[in-house]
Assembly symmetry: C2
Homo-oligomer: 296 residues x 2
């Protein structure tokens, strides 16, 4: 069986780079896979929830710009996706343009996250240039065509794929720029004794740091309502590596919380913590336990 | 003295609507003000930090799409801004186009937050239409010109200002859509015995709910590091109405936290809480105490 892997396309996006790296990992285990580009993160997640594909690779968090909120919101709403593994990809942006010098450039296009990550560089070297958002870093390249007054911010790989010149590289403001992706599958599906399972099984190897992601709501307007769930982990010395609040979309000031803990939900002390957590939360969802792979 | 108020422009943005409402409030107290549009939220905040203007009105949170992260990041980085008051504005989007019917529309432009807030409506009524991001809802209107195949999502007020037809209204997916704005000034500046001071002084009127906003960092990789700061308020029965994490931008997994508490930092029990908070945090910043005004 060939595993199909959905990602935000077209080819050349950072999501595709993460999917390619994951695909290589699968092939090391003798597992074939094909990549399936989608035009939005929402559609990528919808595809895996509808079993159009086996897996989806989606960005969840960037070290500079923070959460990719559409990923968190859809994970909560679709309610049937399970995190298989996390991937960390270093991000390095280039200024891509047919212009011969910075002076020719009038507009620079990119995904809003990429524009934000290069804000300092743009203010310094292209202060008069209009910044225009695009749906993806690769889509930004479509604006270049034969127009020398336009630039785009995208990866080195995208420039190579589309045979476009890089005018400056790297241009991100912070050197330690990376994005964490999740590989997700539909919760109830089984992919048998595949390479995927072999990768997932590394979760049980000693020394591997395992993360569990959860989402929950707490009673509103109650002092300490959030403290109690967090204490459940603190008193067991379970480190919480991340907390993110998102609006419930019901009314302003009404939130749900996403947390990552450094622990495996299969272990008994974690199961006990989750049982106790249920007493302090209104809705509780467990999105899976997984390891983190760094892509070099 | 006329007070100058910076906001994201051009005229017709929701930020301008909030600034207009605040300006009206000032005039009720006999205070004149002028509005100064800027092309980005970052520039709006920069302007007030440099004393180019007296005040800035910036969005901080939407009930559907969550935090406006650039506002939080700049508040932390600039480190000299003080929250004067909070404004809540109801948000109602319209589909604006010269097209006679939905069938003619090929592309819809808007600010990414506005596109996200109408995602369900767009999928239902304009499923084949390409969605393209713009820097503001008003900027999206520039694409219309004489092209009947283009639509934009913006406010009813923007449509009136630019004399453009509304094809559908309201089109937001959630009826209770509103945005909270902050009115900010440079911390050390005094605007004398102005109407602004009169408004601010309402903070001490009994019955007014007062909020205080703070930002802090905690030691990394320490189980319970976030629980201790939150307990400081919980044990004093101070309700925390919001918590938001943002990357420190130093490395992935390193965060700073923004919280809003329902309490006035001038009161002694709150001062004591803040003193205790200092023992659990690495950096602590107090962004001000203020009341919340709802714009109808």
């Amino acid at each position: 069986m060939t595993i199909s892997v959905a990602h935000l396309g077209p080819a050349g996006t950072y999501a595709e780079m993460a999917a390619v790296a994951f695909s290589k990992k699968l092939s090391q285990f003798g597992q074939k896979s094909i990549l399936c580009p989608y035009t939005s993160i929402a559609q990528t997640l919808w595809a895996v929830s509808q079993e159009q594909v086996n897996l989806a690779v989606v960005p969840v968090e960037n070290s500079i710009e923070g959460s990719v909120t559409i990923t968190l919101d859809k994970l909560w709403q679709l309610d049937i996706l399970e995190i298989q593994t996390a991937l960390v990809l270093p991000i390095s942006h280039g200024l891509i343009s047919l212009a011969k010098s910075f002076e020719e450039i009038k507009i620079v296009y990119s995904h809003p996250q990429a524009l934000a990550q290069c804000q300092g560089w743009l203010e310094k070297f292209l202060p008069q240039v209009k910044q225009s958002p695009a749906n993806s870093t690769t889509e930004a390249l479509e604006h270049l065509e034969q127009d020398y007054s336009i630039a785009a911010i995208a990866s080195q790989r995208a420039a190579e794929l589309y045979k476009l010149p890089i005018l400056a590289y790297p241009i991100n403001d912070y050197p330690d720029n990376c994005t964490r992706f999740w590989v997700l599958k539909k919760g109830c599906t089984e992919m048998g004794n595949s390479a995927l399972k072999l990768i997932i099984d590394t979760i049980d190897q000693p020394g591997n740091l395992v993360f569990t992601s959860l989402g929950f709501t707490v009673p509103a307007n109650e002092p300490g309502a959030l403290v109690k769930p967090l204490q459940v982990f603190a008193k067991r010395k379970i480190n919480m590596s991340r907390i993110e609040s998102r609006p419930t979309k019901l009314s302003l000031g009404d939130y749900l919380f996403f947390i990552d803990i450094e622990a495996n939900s299969n272990h008994n002390y974690v199961k006990a913590a989750i049982e106790e957590l249920k007493t302090y939360t209104q809705t509780l969802k467990i999105f899976g336990s997984y390891i983190l792979m760094t892509i070099s």
